[in-house]
């Protein structure tokens, strides 16, 4: 099963886990990314806004999910990414990989989130003390994504 969702709706973790577990598998690895308040010199993050490239974003995530499923023979791959405005503590992204044994699920989960960070067209804009600013890409993300090539 490949499940890719890009949506402004809250991410329902229990529902996503139930889908990932519903395959008679032995192992489910997940990663959840949350909005951090991340106090800075100009105050805490009040709002985080996620912009995406409709069509291309979904295609990129489906491509990643297929690549993971083929590479690790997974029973299921889930990638749910929120877009639009959100607040600290809310979920931005949820990825899950399920398989018979744990090694494949854990590796695929790390692969999915590392590659998502560099390969999927999303852009973050933070608002602190009423002022919005685009978040800069992290070089560490490129390094993490390169591990898998």
């Amino acid at each position: 099963m490949i499940r890719v969702v890009v949506s402004p709706a809250n991410i329902d973790l229990a529902a996503e886990m139930a889908l990932a577990e519903a395959n008679g598998v032995g192992a489910v690895a997940t990663f959840t990314g949350l909005v951090r308040a991340d106090p800075g010199v100009v105050g805490d993050v009040e709002t985080l806004e996620l912009e995406h490239y409709p069509g291309a974003t979904e295609a990129a995530l489906e491509g990643l999910a297929c690549e993971a499923q083929t590479r690790w023979s997974l029973a299921s791959v889930t990638v749910v990414h929120r877009v639009g405005p959100m607040r600290p503590g809310e979920r931005i992204v949820f990825v899950a990989a399920s398989s018979r044994h744990r090694g494949a699920a854990l590796d695929a989960c790390a692969f999915l989130i590392d590659r998502l960070k560099t390969d999927a067209p999303f852009w973050k804009r933070e608002t602190r003390s009423g002022t919005a600013a685009w978040v800069e890409a992290r070089e560490a993300d490129d390094d993490a994504a390169r591990r898998w090539t």
């Binding site: 490239y53 990414h81 989130i113 998502l116 852009w123 685009w134």
Partner: protein
């Protein structure tokens, strides 16, 4: 043939629109040449595209480097490095 340009994040804000139709001459063969051609025609575009090293591109929704050809392209997107997850 007209190309649909898409801009995202601060590129969109600096260009002032998320989408426009453009019709470059046939001599404009790559994404980089397209950027040069757009910048030559408008100071707003020139300012938006000033930091060439911070621009990324997709041709017909496929991520490409700036030296990629645009022959036959129907949609070219320009945007900063991605910051999802």
């Amino acid at each position: 043939m007209a190309i649909r340009m898409l801009y995202f994040a601060w590129v969109r804000e600096r260009v002032g629109t998320g989408e426009e139709l453009v019709d470059p001459p046939a001599s404009v063969a790559t994404v980089a040449a397209l950027i040069d051609w757009l910048a030559a025609g408008s100071p707003t575009h020139a300012a938006a595209f000033a930091e060439r090293g911070r621009l990324r591109a997709a041709v017909d929704q496929v991520f490409v480097s700036l030296d990629a050809p645009i022959e036959g392209a129907r949609e070219v997107a320009l945007f900063p490095p991605v910051t999802g997850g």
